[in-house]
Subunit: 288 residues, 4 copies
């Protein structure tokens, strides 16, 4: 049989780097989780274990720490780009670098150097680079933004097949944990501004949309992010339907007019979708 | 051999109840995880499988939902007490009920009925009751309050034994995930006020104490909670030392003056301790 | 702006179905986690919340349970195919169904109806179908197969850049948690036989290969699976390098000749790659 | 207010040590997670941050690694005792050491040095020592032994209160994840033999007992472990009732005679209990 080496990449995942900067007595804190994946001329190492084109993942980790010192950490998209370009520029055997960064938020307690973790939500960046001057993609996002509305959500008019027992409802709890990602048109966007604006759009669209389905809510959230920022050309969302079932209290002589719910774990609906600006080309590599 | 039945209890764990109340267009949301453990005259069920003294855990779950409707959910300590007293009062075979509640926080997005989960932190209550008029204990707390200070922490003057390689430091990052619990003197305390005050004391003590060790910081946090509220008679804390190691950048020709850290997962230090008002009796059962 | 609906799908995730069958006093047990994702003519629901093409995810869950009864559960690939074809065949609005199944293993304790969970490892299937007679793909696999070798692994001859401090080694511990997936040429393969053979090849290749790098080990594992079964046309693997660092015991006057290791959590190397039969077309949709 | 220092302890948690020994070409592998907690004269460190009685948790970690080399790793109870005694014997300020060890199982693949992780189950030891010649306790155990029986389990004759809707059943699926711990009469027991025997008793009792309640099953499992080994004086078990609900298939025109179940996550019943030899004193400290 003719065996062909398929798609491959390798790198150091989940380097947890914390960077402190000092502005007199006021300290600033950045807390990141950095994952690197490199690909290129990797036939030799796979076929014969010849490592002459392999930059150790340990060196990649060192680079994260050294760059955090040398360059500081600006927006996470910028830090990811710096790293990705470095690996491709420095090594002819590496033709593409993907860098994924998660950032954890902290808020000040009091004084200049004490902090508390804020929220379950994580800010994310996913960068692909074929080196300085080469093709690049930047996808920003957030994960685990958990939202819920106690009304303003219905679900009816759906298909009734032989396995359908669900009753239509014109008033239900809608809850989800939003994972949202948006692709930038260029690699030198205002990432911080885009993040604030995108997050605001997501929350407002969730709150303001009268939901007829989670798909419609998802689309509306994506649309607002896209329309709210001309520098963004595509938005993708993944939203589990975290079911809240109305508890039947009739056996106990009690009514339950949308007051008491059971929050279920599994199974859950999972809605994935997105929107794209009509003038923007697709870029599957940006997302993987 | 003479086999004796040892300590035992049973109940329904982790009932996830969400309660919505409406004040016109303004909705209020409570999101709890309730765990019940009952004990009493349980010899028959263990020794012979005679269930005549066993209230099914399914009925316990139903009771949580029914009480959420009938009584609403006030402070979680009050809801836990209502449940605990009910089980003991209603069933002669049950002599003690323990109810543990976790509460997840939500903040409003905009409008009256949309919410986002706030923080990783969880508010907790642990109640024990031998029935209305009987012995009771109420322990309130919080878990997963993650805090970090970038300076104001030293560690030196410690024991140096043959396995000690740690260097003393007069400036390190100190980070922990606080689990704190405080025992109330009575079962009719101002639980909401105590929580706000305790949380404030914990954060301020962490921020303001120049730390010579995590034990000293823990003690100071506990002391402030205790002294800040005469209705509290004991405080216990569990604080992992979430190590942040300064990265050696010298091989790359870079200094690192407390700027770049590696956040480690395991192993971690674990510091457990507490404080008690000198006039308060110990109550081990309150904590288990 | 011209907003275009992007790729989308929806379905019920993680339906946990357990199926018991009886052969006299000997019972058989199947324990699955089934996730369904459907796509098709979903413009209306996204753009306007018109649900007339939406089969509720609740109905999908019901279908899983009903099919487990009606058809029983054969190999998980077959069960996934039955479900996937049903959704597309039954609903003109659905043009593609993806069904992912995880299966948890159980072994008999004694007697005909008592079982214990076996291993951390999970058997998996991922099926895509455009309906009976349409395009289909079947990918089988396993996840969380944790393996380790205490010798027979080296890593040297790698790139040395300015951030490289790693020392070459000719003898290290190599540990990983294998996720392996293999794509079948047809949808009516001997899935059970292929699984047993693939698993055997993976373990033997790991054990028998003198490893010069994890990439080489990965390639060899994939190659053996591919060559061992003519019905398989592609293999993909994801293998974290679960680092085991030799502890420096010299400060304690002790040598450490590959005896005492620290098993680290993060960061970890992550190696992803695969092999394909030269005569087989690529099929990206099969993997997503 | 008079503030009293309450119970306290500190130590290094979750040191992940892997020990390899060589018998020619046949290698042996031990994989442990070691947690240490020390207590003693710790007033000064809590009240004033005076660390002169504090052995750093970093040194405790080093001791684990050094002892793994110097003494090897016998049974985990023995390794835990070695460590616990060392800390108390070596430091007058330490009056009690608690050492908890988890061990992960590995089985050979083929050849002398390749292994695969076996099972989700973990073997455990919890040792308390006040130093060589002082009071000591040894509790051995296992965790996450997941078992299920497809028949031979009923639940009826229970209390019916106003919140009871559960129907009695004479045939249900019974599933649980066993955490079992047994206390030895002495610190020089045959720990390996006791483990094998205890595990066998637990599995057999689960399989062979016609279950009228999970409490009865738990008691029977504990009783057999206790009676099967004169060196054990107490057994404690914690067993969640992992509910498997029979799915109602009637809406789809299908019966369901104990064939198709939904495996639920939360809530779950939680049964905790134990047995003690009548001639054995209680020893609460052994369990905490």
């Amino acid at each position: 049989m003719d065996v062909v080496l398929g798609p491959n990449r390798y790198g150091k995942a989940e380097t947890r780097v914390v960077r402190v900067t000092r502005d007199g007595d006021t300290h600033h804190l950045r807390d990141l989780n950095v994952s690197i994946a490199l690909s290129g001329h990797m036939e030799a190492v796979h076929l014969s274990g010849d490592n002459s084109a392999v930059l150790p993942t340990d060196s990649q980790k060192n680079t994260v720490f050294a760059f955090a010192k040398k360059h500081g950490i600006g927006e996470i998209e910028e830090f990811a780009l710096l790293l990705a370009r470095h690996f491709v520029d420095a090594r002819p055997s590496i033709t593409r670098a993907s860098v994924v960064v998660e950032e954890y938020g902290w808020e000040r307690i009091r004084g200049g150097h004490s902090f508390a973790r804020s929220g379950t939500e994580v800010r994310t960046a996913r960068v692909g680079s074929e080196g300085t001057g080469g093709r690049e993609s930047v996808v920003s996002g957030l994960a685990d933004l958990v939202v819920l509305k106690t009304t303003g959500s219905e679900f009816r008019g759906f298909v009734q097949d032989e396995y359908t027992t669900l009753q239509p409802t014109d008033d239900r709890v809608l809850a989800t944990a939003v994972t949202a990602n948006w692709r930038h048109r260029t690699a030198d966007a205002d990432f911080a501004g885009a993040f604030q604006e995108a997050r605001r759009c997501l929350l407002e669209a969730f709150a303001e949309t009268h939901s007829r389905s989670l798909q419609q809510t998802l689309y509306e959230m994506g649309r607002r992010v896209l329309e709210g920022n001309g520098g963004i050309c595509e938005v993708r969302l993944s939203m589990p339907n975290k079911h809240h079932f109305l508890v039947d209290l009739e056996p106990f002589g009690l009514d339950n007019e949308n007051e008491v719910y059971f929050a279920a774990d599994r199974p859950y609906g999972l809605i994935e979708g997105g929107v794209r600006a009509g003038d923007a080309a697709e870029d599957p590599a940006a997302w993987s």
